[in-house]
């Protein structure tokens, strides 16, 4: 021990008390222990953050399933109804009457999704998109005659969605009739699981408009399509899918037949007011279009497409392969003989 003088004798130290020390050690032990548990506890223990394989932080996708929106048709009604007339509303009523009337299918208070074809920003009578007059009439019938609670109109177009809805006239038609348009935002999609599908068992689907929906009706025009032979009713459900749809063309017939089991709609309408005979599915020149006076309503979309292929596109009996694949998957029957009713 040295003789060194004490520096600053007036200063009073404040030594760490035993309690403080113990408290500090406890805090350290506690924090350290908690951290150690989180990091080192084996995978699967409660609160453990351990991930040995690196797979746990993979984004988890929870697919959902769609309801089956079908309603049994009345006993004596046909599977496919064909209405002919000079105006869309007349054709619509006749076609729907042939399969039992709209009120049989849509009950008061139902929330209904109407899915038209809004794929391109073409003018209405170029036949590339659904006829706005038809859509407006349908929505009015739903809201007024059937007293549906709400009608939602939606599609995921290939081209720019706002442009397509605007220039095809379907935005205005929906608004006038009292429906509401649902556009495909980035957060409107969820992965849908379709059991039994060949190629699209899990695929991004435009989910947002379908929450709490009771009935689904599809309205599509009749169009020529090089790869698929024709784009009519069944193929129109393509517009509800997201993701990399551009891969579908590698096996288009399997995809379209998958679409027929992905969506089980209440009714399907095929509008033959402007038939796109060539240069489909985009069209663009009025000479491609053949005006017509037919509208079909059906509970069997396979038969509907077959009849339309034969009689509206006038291609004869060389039906596209997807119709047979769809029949194999149980979505309907190609042979429409004896199951149609035409009201002129």
């Amino acid at each position: 021990m040295s003789d060194k003088p004490v520096q600053k004798p007036e200063y009073v130290k404040q030594p760490l008390t035993r309690r403080q020390f113990a408290g500090r050690v406890a805090a350290v032990a506690g924090l350290g222990g908690a951290a150690a548990y989180l990091a080192l506890a084996p995978e699967g223990w409660l609160g453990s953050l351990r991930d040995t394989t690196g797979l746990l932080s993979k984004p988890v996708v929870k697919p959902f399933r769609l309801h089956d929106y079908r309603v049994d048709k009345p006993a004596l009604a046909a599977d496919v109804g064909i209405g002919r007339g000079p105006t869309p509303s007349e054709r619509l009523r006749k076609a729907l009457d042939a399969i039992g009337g709209l009120q049989h299918y849509i009950k008061p208070g139902d929330i209904v999704v109407v899915k038209p074809n809004v794929a391109f920003d073409r003018a209405p009578n170029l036949g590339a998109t659904t006829n706005p007059e038809t859509l407006e009439t349908l929505i009015r019938m739903l809201l007024v005659d059937c007293r549906a609670q709400e009608v939602r109109v939606t599609d995921n177009p290939i081209e720019s969605p706002p442009d397509c809805f605007a220039k095809s006239g379907l935005n205005v038609a929906t608004g006038n009739a009292g429906g509401r348009v649902y556009l495909p935002d980035s957060n409107a999609f969820k992965v849908l699981n379709t059991p039994g599908a060949e190629l699209i068992e899990n695929w991004a689907f435009l989910h947002r408009p379908f929450t709490n929906v009771d009935k689904v009706i599809g309205v599509a025009p009749v169009k020529d399509h090089n790869l698929c032979s024709a784009s009519m009713r069944i193929k129109n459900w393509y517009g509800l899918l997201g993701g990399r749809r551009n891969q579908f063309h590698q096996d288009i017939h399997s995809i379209v037949s998958d679409l027929s089991i992905m969506m089980r709609p209440t009714l399907t309408l095929l509008d033959g007011s402007n038939i796109l005979m060539k240069n489909g599915p985009t069209g663009g020149d009025p000479s491609d279009v053949k005006p017509g006076n037919v509208l079909m309503a059906a509970v069997d979309p396979v038969a509907q497409d077959a009849w339309a292929y034969e009689h509206l596109l006038e291609r004869g009996r060389n039906y596209p392969r997807y119709l047979f694949k769809a029949e194999e998957k149980g979505s309907g029957r190609v042979d429409w003989q004896g199951r149609i009713k035409e009201i002129v």
Partner: protein, 577 residues
């Protein structure tokens, strides 16, 4: 408060304080085993272990060495990836060791373990030209030292949202990255030249191969390594301006440990009754922690230099009997700075993510990741840019990404460059050394799609495509087909249509014209490497079709096996008309 200003001490050897009795020096043995020597030993040990890790991160040497352990011990890596992914991968639990040490002893990591700290301290020690009072000034606390806490806050906030950028400034990542891509090939250059001289002199030049960082292969190059090296050297050079510049001003790991050090059990304790306010303890204070006044716990590196320098033995490193009036937590960030940092952190995330160069719609065809990589957004929340994968890769195909491949977010993450090398078929070393699971550990079976993974198929890195205008058989009537020859899968992903042609010189030549079978291609890139059109190869791999991402796939489904006549155009008629 700046104690320097209050005192009027001449810069002299103040062991002769007035009226004091000089004690005899401590015995040699005790001096040898004193704590600062223990610290130096520890620094040597960890720096050597670090160099050993770099040296051993090579295909023939990896063996069972835990080459990424220092990275796995880095608690900033563990905590940031846990924030970004919600999990603690494989060996990242080792970070508890350093956390525990910090809880007990304060920021010992910074001066006892961290190899970057050792490097800074060594360079500073070597080139220091300051005299004593200049040293006091350079080691006093400055407000700029709060910058590292703001940097840490920004990085952690970004990490919690899923954008992991700690790798840019984390000292261990920095060291691994720079030594792997800059100093290893530089050292190998020197060794090769030495070997050549030995061989020219008649001696056995191969003896130095054991010291080479990448023996047995052609000399290695790393794209962009110039900037990686400049980055590190600039920061090291800053030691001549402010000692331990990086550690005091920028280091996010130091900031995190500093924030924890306020709870530490052991700390520097100054006995006021012995202290003569001579400031000699500041001479070599590494952390600028004010040992001469109230010790800043968050800045103190526990380097123990102040204990060695105090002629009055007034300083000690202890847990009991501490004078609580002589310590402060020390961060002094201030609310304004904290808010500013938080804002920057929150904004940084959308700034990065909406930059638009690495989305599923707009991604670079050159963004080809190593086999076992997780899908891109997950990858960017895990990759710490340590470049261990790049070091271990035997073919030199892995390169640090530039802005072109992955934008700013992907800078220095690993990408494959098939002009330089190919992905060796049965090698999975990159997945073994990755500390965070950005490249998930895979076995050779998973990579090839065999055994349990047969239904999932092989890991596909991308798809090869032909540039027919540059391909010798297609465009120039010259026989080639190296690409088909080296394609390693069975059956081959490159098939040929064979054709006889009379060329311009009148000879009949047999041309095997190659074409791709994308269902079979695994994107290994050996076709591109071997293509004789070396400047812009006639067959090249791009990232589309990689199996780790559903969005970036090319094919809807692989086609049927075996050659059966397709019924694609058959149309079945109705049964009756």
């Amino acid at each position: 408060m700046n104690h320097i200003q209050l005192l009027n001490i001449e810069p002299s050897d103040s062991s002769r304080s007035k009226g004091a009795v000089r004690l005899p020096p401590p015995p040699k043995a005790r001096k040898f085993l004193r704590i600062t020597n223990a610290r130096i030993l520890s620094q040597i040990f960890f720096f050597t272990m670090f160099l050993l890790a770099i040296w051993a991160t090579w295909t023939t040497r990896v063996g069972g060495y835990p080459v990424s352990r220092i990275l796995e011990m880095d608690p900033l890596v563990s905590i940031a990836t846990a924030l970004a992914t919600g999990h603690v991968y494989r060996f990242l639990g080792w970070g508890i060791l350093v956390l525990g040490l910090t809880f007990l002893f304060g920021r010992v990591f910074c001066n006892w373990i961290c190899p970057y700290g050792t490097l800074h301290q060594f360079v500073g020690w070597l080139f220091n030209t300051r005299n004593t009072s200049e040293r006091w000034k350079s080691n006093s606390y400055r407000p700029v030292y709060t910058l590292k806490y703001m940097i840490l806050a920004v990085l952690l906030i970004m990490a919690s949202m899923g954008a992991l950028q700690i790798g840019l400034l984390d000292p261990i990542c920095l060291m691994y990255r720079t030594f792997s891509t800059v100093f290893s090939p530089a050292a190998d250059m020197v060794i090769v030249s030495l070997e050549d001289r030995l061989a020219a002199a008649g001696a056995d030049g191969v003896v130095l191969d054991a010291v080479k960082f990448a023996p047995g292969v052609d000399s290695r190059v790393f794209v962009g390594s110039f900037w990686i090296g400049v980055f590190l050297m600039t920061l090291v050079g800053m030691n001549l301006v402010i000692p331990r510049f990086f550690c005091r001003v920028l280091c996010p790991l130091g900031a995190m440990l500093g924030a924890i050090a306020r709870f530490s059990v052991f700390r520097i304790d100054r006995d006021v009754h012995k202290c003569t306010d001579c400031n000699l303890c500041l001479t070599r204070c590494e952390g600028a922690a004010d040992p001469q006044g109230k010790v800043r716990l968050s800045e103190c590196f526990s380097c123990m230099n102040c204990i060695d320098d105090c002629p009055e033995d007034a300083l000690r490193f202890a847990a009991v009997g501490l004078d609580t009036k002589q310590v402060v937590p020390g961060m002094s960030l201030g609310r304004r700075r904290a808010v500013f940092a938080a804002m920057a952190g929150v904004l940084a995330y959308p700034f990065l993510k909406n930059h638009g160069v690495n989305t599923d719609e707009n991604y670079s065809p050159k963004l080809i990741r190593p086999p076992g990589s997780v899908e891109e957004s997950d990858f960017l929340s895990k990759c710490i840019k340590c470049d261990q994968c790049i070091k271990v890769c035997p073919t030199n195909v892995l390169q640090p990404a530039t802005f072109e491949e992955g934008g700013f977010e992907g800078l220095w993450t690993p990408v494959m460059n098939f002009n330089i090398g190919h992905c060796q078929l049965k090698c999975t070393l990159c997945s073994e050394v990755c500390p965070t699971g950005a490249i998930r550990r895979i076995t050779v079976e998973e990579k090839l799609g065999k055994a349990d993974y047969a239904s999932a198929g092989p890991v596909v890195l991308g798809t090869a495509f032909f540039d027919l205008g540059r391909c010798l058989p297609h465009a120039m009537e010259i026989a080639c087909v190296v690409c088909e020859e080296v394609c390693p899968v069975s059956p081959k992903a490159i098939q040929t249509k064979d054709e006889e042609v009379r060329n311009v010189y009148g000879e009949i030549v047999l041309l095997n014209k190659p074409f791709m079978v994308p269902d079979l291609c695994i994107g290994c890139g050996i076709c591109q490497v071997e293509c004789p059109v070396t400047d812009s190869p006639a067959v090249y791999v791009t990232s589309v079709g990689e199996s780790r991402s559903i969005e970036r796939r090319l094919l809807l489904a692989p086609r049927q096996h075996a050659a059966v006549a397709s019924d694609l155009i058959q149309i079945q008629p109705l049964k009756h008309t």
